[in-house]
């Protein structure tokens, strides 16, 4: 509880400081609008913001679902075949060395201005952290469990299902939590490159028209959305690592 109080307090202090600077320095609203103005703009544009938030949120949620599923399937495939690991792991690592953001324009070219190029961007960003976290967990099964399974003449696929996967769920949970942080970033970048809807699009549009207050309102909405997503995913994955 005291964490919440501290969070509210520090946010309050930051907002007060922000308003003071804007008032004292008498900054023009297109350079830096104060929090009061941003709040007013947010309220007067609430329906537009809500509409764009819904677009970004669907991109993020679909991106997460697809990216996490692909990551889980890939990790399990790699964990069950050494040959696959030898071939695929270097490729995975190499793709991580590429700046995936640079692919955003080409994704837009391939998939168009709609939802799918943003979803694809989010999937690209979260796929690797999920795959590598889960694969790492699958490859680190405590040796004692594997010894026991071996003396029981266990079938490799059944050992995977009954021992290695459950033992790796906490690792998967941390990969998923990381994905929840990355997914909104991916969607926003996709929107920046080319979109006609979404919070990223709205921010770019507002910026272009020197409506800095609207830009801030959209950005803060994105921030709140990301935090809520983080809390939700944390809540949903809380049981993955639990043992009792």
């Amino acid at each position: 509880m005291s964490r919440w109080i501290a969070a509210v307090l520090s946010t309050g202090v930051a907002l007060a400081l922000w308003q003071t600077i804007v008032t004292v320095a008498d900054l023009p609203r297109f350079i830096l609008p104060g929090p009061i103005l941003v709040a007013e703009t947010w309220w007067s544009h609430r329906w537009i913001i809500a509409e764009h938030t819904l677009v970004t949120a669907s991109e993020v949620v679909l991106g997460l679902l697809i990216g996490i599923s692909l990551g889980i399937v890939t990790a399990i495939q790699l964990a069950s075949s050494r040959a696959a690991r030898v071939v695929v792991q270097p490729i995975l690592v190499f793709t991580q060395a590429l700046p995936v953001f640079a692919l955003a324009p080409i994704l837009t070219l391939w998939l168009g201005f709609g939802l799918w190029s943003k979803i694809a961007m989010a999937v690209l960003i979260i796929y690797f952290p999920v795959t590598s976290a889960f694969l790492d967990g699958l490859m680190r099964t405590p040796q004692g469990y594997l010894d026991l399974a071996r003396t029981m003449q266990g079938h490799p696929m059944r050992i995977l299902w009954h021992i290695r996967i459950p033992a790796a769920l906490p690792s998967l949970a941390s990969g998923v939590r990381l994905a929840a942080v990355y997914a909104p970033i991916g969607a926003i970048i996709g929107e920046w490159v080319g979109a006609s809807r979404g919070l990223g699009y709205l921010m770019l549009l507002a910026n272009g028209r020197a409506k800095t207050d609207l830009m801030f309102a959209a950005m803060l909405t994105l921030g709140v959305f990301s935090i809520l997503l983080h809390l939700l995913v944390g809540y949903l994955t809380r049981n993955l690592g639990k043992t009792d």
Binding site: L148, R158, P166, D244
Partner: protein
């Protein structure tokens, strides 16, 4: 009842070219308890893992055979100091693990019998984290029993337990594993004196056979013969160069 074979391991082992143990011959008599004592690092766990068919850090040359000529590693059940219970599975699921891993049908009738024998019936639906150390080790014993193998290999199974729980586990194990060929690695001279039909002290030179106390196992701790053997074992263990 499945016929119970004896096991003989003959050979020597090296680690990175250096001798771990000299040529030796360890015989586990059919239906008897063999206790293996010895200093830390002499290779007791290695011997046991070799019989299980598990990977070890050592290169072994020699052979391991069953008195009836059959396969060895497919007829052993293994229990270690770490209970190796799956924390996400219930007591019952842990006991049925072997069947799940092989895809065999789960024998719930036998499960109920075994739960009853080890006194865990009331705990069947609990997760291991809700159990005491002694109860967890009873689950591990139940899982070993469920495997229904004729040869049982125990690597310091009770060493993490307090003295009275350990004595209770020794009684229980001697009762439920009666008739099986058992190898137990232990650091505890009392355990060896109570449970060994055959007691061996292992050192780098090989095995030393120690005469066990008289009487059937589990022998009472109060028996003078058990106490004498215990003292004798401790004296010998302290003399063995480590």
């Amino acid at each position: 009842m499945i016929p119970v074979p004896g096991i003989t391991l003959t050979g020597q082992a090296t680690i990175h070219g250096a001798a771990l143990f000299a040529p030796l011959s360890l015989s586990l008599d059919a239906g008897q308890w063999t206790c293996l004592l010895g200093g830390s690092g002499v290779g007791k766990s290695t011997l046991l893992r070799l019989i299980c068919g598990l990977p070890t850090g050592a290169e072994f040359t020699g052979d391991i055979r069953a008195s009836d000529g059959g396969d060895v590693s497919s007829r052993v059940a293994y229990m270690a100091q770490d209970d190796l219970l799956m924390p996400w599975a219930t007591v019952s699921q842990n006991i049925l693990l072997g069947a799940a891993l092989r895809g065999d049908p789960r024998d719930h009738g036998r499960l109920a019998q075994i739960l009853d024998r080890v006194g865990l019936t009331d705990h069947a639906a609990k997760k291991p984290s809700a159990l005491s150390g002694g109860q967890r080790q009873r689950v591990a014993l139940a899982r070993t029993l469920m495997e229904d193998k004729p040869v049982i290999l125990l690597d310091e199974p009770f060493s993490a337990l307090d003295a009275q729980t350990r004595a209770a586990m020794q009684d229980l194990s001697a009762e439920v594993l009666r008739g099986k060929t058992v190898l137990i690695v232990t650091h505890d001279p009392i355990e060896a004196a109570r449970l060994g039909d055959n007691i061996q002290i292992m050192s780098a030179e090989g095995l030393m056979d120690v005469t066990p106390p008289t009487g059937p196992i589990p022998r009472p701790v109060t028996s003078l013969d058990v106490l004498k053997t215990q003292a004798d074992l401790l004296t010998r263990l302290r003399k063995v160069p480590t």
